[in-house]
């Protein structure tokens, strides 16, 4: 990009008082994004943050860009229209697990299958925060909340599996406790041409505190965080003593000592066929077992708004620019003297 003025985190921040609960994981995500933006080679005026409703959806108010805080669940649809009308913009969509997977589930999957150029960041805290603590579509079975005093009976979504199932061309996971990892994933997401789905494991310290601790806390990362790295065998543990193999059409955690490094699955995020990525997404029997983070899938597919724009160009090339008088006569006319 040319002519992009140098900016700092401050330039990308608004003067609005940030209103999340003290200690909320959303703060670290906001900071990571505000710190990353100056390095992306984009301008503030060409950047838009669109959100729905929920704690996470407050995000646009704190970004000194264009922004829309819309209605519950609809942000992928609104952003799809904006991206289709304005392929020149950089559009981010921010929402929580309730916003994206519950009320907005339909729009999410359709935005992903269309592969429209919007970057969807889903903050997953496995709870409804804004409405003060009901189980969400990612809460584990048996979750005790105010609306499920005897434990929730609903089976949760696996967001990565869902996004892969919807045909998303870019699917990744990161978490709020590691700014470096988050920035790396978001930067790669930004470079991707097409729909992006990034699940960000986020702590709601008021209504679901510590829900991700077994995975994201520094002390637990060795045992439970599998950092996917393109081209490398999938390994984790303090001494890389664990690995992932595929056996009987399932991804499994094994001791590397038992199978040897050569038996491990080598991660290929550019693999066209999403099957292996899907197997990897099934690894996490969350929120307590080894969980992959990083980019599950990043493949090139035709981007929607470019396809729409190309049809306009083709139509002009074929029929010439629109001519109103000709359009009104297209069904045949007659003249009365």
């Amino acid at each position: 990009m040319t002519n992009v003025p140098t900016t700092t985190k401050k330039d990308w921040s608004t003067d609005q008082e940030v209103r999340w609960c003290p200690g909320c994981g959303d703060y670290s995500i906001l900071t990571a994004v505000q710190m990353m933006m100056p390095d992306l080679g984009v301008t503030r005026e060409n950047t838009v943050f669109v959100s729905g409703i929920g704690c996470a959806a407050r995000f646009p108010y704190y970004m000194n860009t264009y922004g829309m805080h819309s209605i519950h669940g609809r942000s992928p649809a609104i952003a799809t229209g904006l991206a289709t009308a304005r392929p020149d913009l950089d559009i981010w969509v921010v929402g929580g697990d309730g916003d994206m997977l519950s009320i907005g589930g339909n729009h999410l999957i359709h935005a992903l299958r269309r592969n429209v150029n919007i970057k969807i960041l889903m903050f997953n805290n496995m709870i409804y925060g804004l409405t003060k603590g009901q189980y969400s579509p990612t809460s584990e079975v048996g979750k005790i909340t105010k609306s499920s005093p005897f434990g929730s009976v609903d089976a949760p979504f696996n967001p990565i599996s869902l996004a892969l199932g919807a045909g998303a061309s870019f699917v990744a996971r990161t978490h709020d406790m590691d700014r470096k990892h988050m920035t790396k994933v978001l930067r790669q997401a930004h470079e991707h041409d097409g729909s992006v789905f990034v699940e960000i494991l986020q702590n709601c310290n008021v209504f679901n505190d510590g829900a991700w601790d077994k995975i994201t806390k520094r002390a637990n990362r060795d045992a439970n965080l599998i950092d996917l790295s393109h081209g490398d065998p999938i390994q984790f543990g303090a001494d890389n003593e664990f690995g992932v193999v595929v056996e009987n059409a399932e991804a499994k955690v094994v001791n590397v000592a038992d199978v040897g490094v050569d038996a491990l699955l080598v991660h290929d995020e550019h693999r066209e066929e999403p099957g292996l990525a899907f197997l990897l997404s099934r690894l996490s029997n969350r929120p307590v077992s080894p969980t992959p983070v990083g980019v599950f899938r990043s493949v090139n597919q035709p981007e929607y708004s470019a396809g729409v724009a190309r049809q306009l160009v083709d139509a002009q090339a074929q029929n010439g620019p629109g001519d109103l008088a000709a359009m009104l006569r297209s069904a045949g006319t007659w003249t009365v003297d």
């Binding site: 608004t14 609005q16 301008t43 503030r44 005026e45 060409n46 950047t47 838009v48 669109v50 409703i53 646009p60 108010y61 970004m63 000194n64 860009t65 264009y66 922004g67 829309m68 805080h69 819309s70 209605i71 609809r74 649809a77 609104i78 952003a79 799809t80 229209g81 904006l82 991206a83 289709t84 009308a85 304005r86 020149d88 913009l89 339909n106 729009h107 359709h110 729409v308 049809q311 306009l312 083709d314 139509a315 002009q316 074929q318 029929n319 010439g320 620019p321 629109g322 109103l324 008088a325 359009m327 009104l328 006569r329 069904a331 045949g332 006319t333 007659w334 003249t335 009365v336 003297d337």
Partner: protein, 625 residues
């Protein structure tokens, strides 16, 4: 076809005729009616059409549920309706006769494809005996014609299989009616050649059937006369025949050109609005982007997103879709962004009567959203008028930065009329400016952008689209502070914003034409209409005037806000009658707003008003003469 020399049948001149073509949905009756309409248009008649589609797409063949009909009225004078009752009914099978006979005027002609009146078909239509010979059609002029057999004979030498020949029998009917009303044949033959180009056997078969029908009229000693309807004295100029959905689509495309903005349509298929999506999807060379969304909500959301990005945005739907879009429309009202919601009304509630017109979404358009959420409403009055209505709705949306509801209906959508084409150079300029500069200063005297600082005249807020340097700002559904647009929970600010949004919409009244009274301004009775009732009201007023009644009428293009003089106009008449295809929704609004004793004339059976029904109501009010 026979060796009989053509007889010289008397040619009688008629002023008008109303013909209804009816058959099974597979019989091609819509096409037959459209072709007849098309040649009549080119011939120079005035005309009006009323297609009637079966409720079910794949109803079993030969059943009442599968009957499809097309009514067309042609005349040598200017008309505004497709006619109250047809005088000629063409029926391709017993089900069509059973379902449609009640429309026919007493003494009217019934022309049937007698080959279809088999025991099996009679049974499917629920006839206990054959109406062609049981005397039940006494009172009508019955012409049984073995259309299927004659078509088979005419096409046999071309090598058309009998089964395939059946498919051409609608052209036999068209040929026969074309003879009966002295229509030029050349345009139809040419159309067949163009339409089926490359499928030579079909071309030959349809042409043979058409000619056979035409010749049958001339040579078979069945009919007593044939007729002529001279061209109408219409204003001079170039005409096309257009239905409401096409005119709406063209109006949306034109509005984009007139506003100098790219057009965006977010839509989800729904009867009877889908054809607007089809038509707009064709015009990509105008830069029109159409998005077939995953649902009605997304369609509206995508349109709103496009509007935020600076497009002229539309979403098209019918009543159930408006219900789903309600929350997003509320957001558009709060964000104060322009967009047009097009509701092609149909019978409801719920799935209701999807292929039948109704105009019962007026109160939903007025009030069918959460909280205080006023929006302007405009309604077209005839098929061609949909073009102007789309431009007017767009103009208001853009100028006032508000969603606007356009209320069409299934009748306008599918019926057609000749349209004197406008000179596109005379269409209004509806362009508006985007904000590009700071519009305020902070305490330090530095320039800032106030996204909710209003234009003092229109109360519209600036439209600053993403990509504009320095004007980055956030909008949202949470109540905003006046001027800054920052989140505000201040009670006084909320009330102020409610008042401002209402005042902005009310202010549109300063910017629309006054309500015009036609007819006798000193009459006792004013008929007040809106939407598609215009044609029937217009015809009824003419008939009432011819009968010596003194009566006035006025038609509302804008339903929110009403034209400024509406109250004054209504107060001038002792009686006000409001015909509507609902249970009295405009009447309710008028009574509430102007405290007058308006009387409702309600019709809600899925069929548009006839002029006779409105005339009866007028004479009831004014007493028999």
């Amino acid at each position: 076809m026979t060796d009989t020399a053509p007889r010289e049948l008397p040619l009688q001149e008629l002023s008008e005729v109303v013909i209804r073509f009816a058959g099974d949905s597979g019989d091609g009756m819509q096409l037959t009616g459209e072709r007849f309409t098309s040649v009549s248009a080119v011939f120079g008649n005035d005309l009006s059409t009323l297609p009637e589609f079966p409720a079910e797409i794949r109803a079993p063949q030969g059943t009442l549920a599968g009957v499809s009909a097309f009514q067309v009225r042609i005349s040598d004078f200017a008309i505004s309706t497709p006619g109250d009752a047809p005088t000629v009914l063409v029926c391709m099978n017993p089900a069509a006769l059973k379902a449609q006979l009640h429309h026919l005027a007493q003494g009217g002609a019934v022309i049937v494809n007698s080959d279809a009146f088999t025991e099996r078909n009679l049974d499917k239509a629920g006839y206990k005996s054959n109406p062609l010979d049981d005397g039940s059609l006494v009172g009508y002029r019955l012409y049984p014609v073995p259309m299927a057999e004659l078509t088979k004979t005419a096409t046999a030498e071309l090598g058309v299989k009998p089964r395939d020949a059946e498919r051409s029998k609608n052209f036999f009917a068209l040929g026969l009616i074309s003879w009966m009303y002295s229509r030029p044949t050349e345009p139809t033959l040419q159309w067949v050649k163009d339409k089926f180009a490359g499928r030579e056997l079909i071309v030959a078969s349809n042409i043979a059937a058409f000619n056979a029908g035409y010749n049958f009229g001339e040579t078979a000693e069945v009919f007593e006369a044939h007729y002529e309807i001279k061209p109408a004295q219409l204003p001079s100029g170039e005409y096309t025949n257009v239905n409401g959905n096409t005119a709406l689509a063209w109006g949306c495309v034109a509005a984009g050109q007139l506003a100098n903005l790219p057009v965006f349509l977010g839509s989800y298929p729904i009867t009877p609005a889908t054809d607007i999506l089809h038509e707009m999807s064709k015009h990509k060379n105008f830069g029109v982007r159409t998005l077939q969304a995953e649902d009605e909500i997304a369609a509206c959301g995508a349109a709103l997103g496009a509007a935020y990005g600076g497009a002229l945005a539309f979403t098209t739907t019918s009543g159930p879709g408006v219900a789903l879009k309600g929350e997003t429309i509320g957001l558009a009202i709060s964000l104060e962004l322009p967009m047009v919601i097009i509701d092609v009304q149909r019978g409801g509630p719920s799935t209701g009567l999807p292929t039948k017109p109704e105009a019962a979404d007026l109160l939903m358009a007025m009030f069918g959203r959460h909280s205080e959420s006023p929006m302007p409403i405009v309604a077209p009055q005839s098929p061609a008028d949909c073009f102007d209505a789309a431009i007017e709705a767009s103009r208001i949306a853009l100028k006032y930065r508000t969603p606007v509801m356009l209320l069409s209906d299934g009748y306008l959508a599918n019926s057609s009329e000749p349209w004197l084409l406008p000179d596109v150079a005379t269409l209004p300029d509806i362009s508006v400016d985007f904000a590009t500069e700071y519009n305020g200063t902070n305490e330090d005297g530095e320039g800032i952008f106030l996204p909710y600082l209003r234009d003092p005249e229109t109360l519209a807020r600036p439209w600053a689209v993403p990509g504009t340097p320095n004007l980055m700002h956030r909008v949202g559904g949470i109540e905003k502070e006046d001027r800054t647009g920052n989140i505000s929970y201040d009670p006084a600010n909320h009330e102020k914003m409610i008042d401002l949004r209402a005042a902005k919409v009310a202010g549109v009244a300063n910017d629309i034409p006054a309500l015009v009274v036609h007819g006798d301004p000193d009459a006792e009775l004013l008929v007040l209409g809106w939407g598609s009732t215009w044609g029937a009201i217009d015809a009824a007023i003419n008939r009432a005037t011819d009968n010596g009644y003194s009566v006035a009428y006025a038609h509302l293009r804008h339903l929110n806000p009403f034209p400024k003089n509406t109250g004054e106009v209504l107060a001038n008449f002792r009686k006000v009658l409001i015909p509507e295809m609902n249970s009295g929704q405009l009447a309710l609004l008028v009574r509430a707003k102007f405290l007058i004793d308006a009387k409702s004339l309600s019709k809600i059976n899925g069929v548009p008003f006839t002029s006779g029904e409105i005339l009866d109501a007028i004479t009831d009010e004014l007493g028999q003469k």
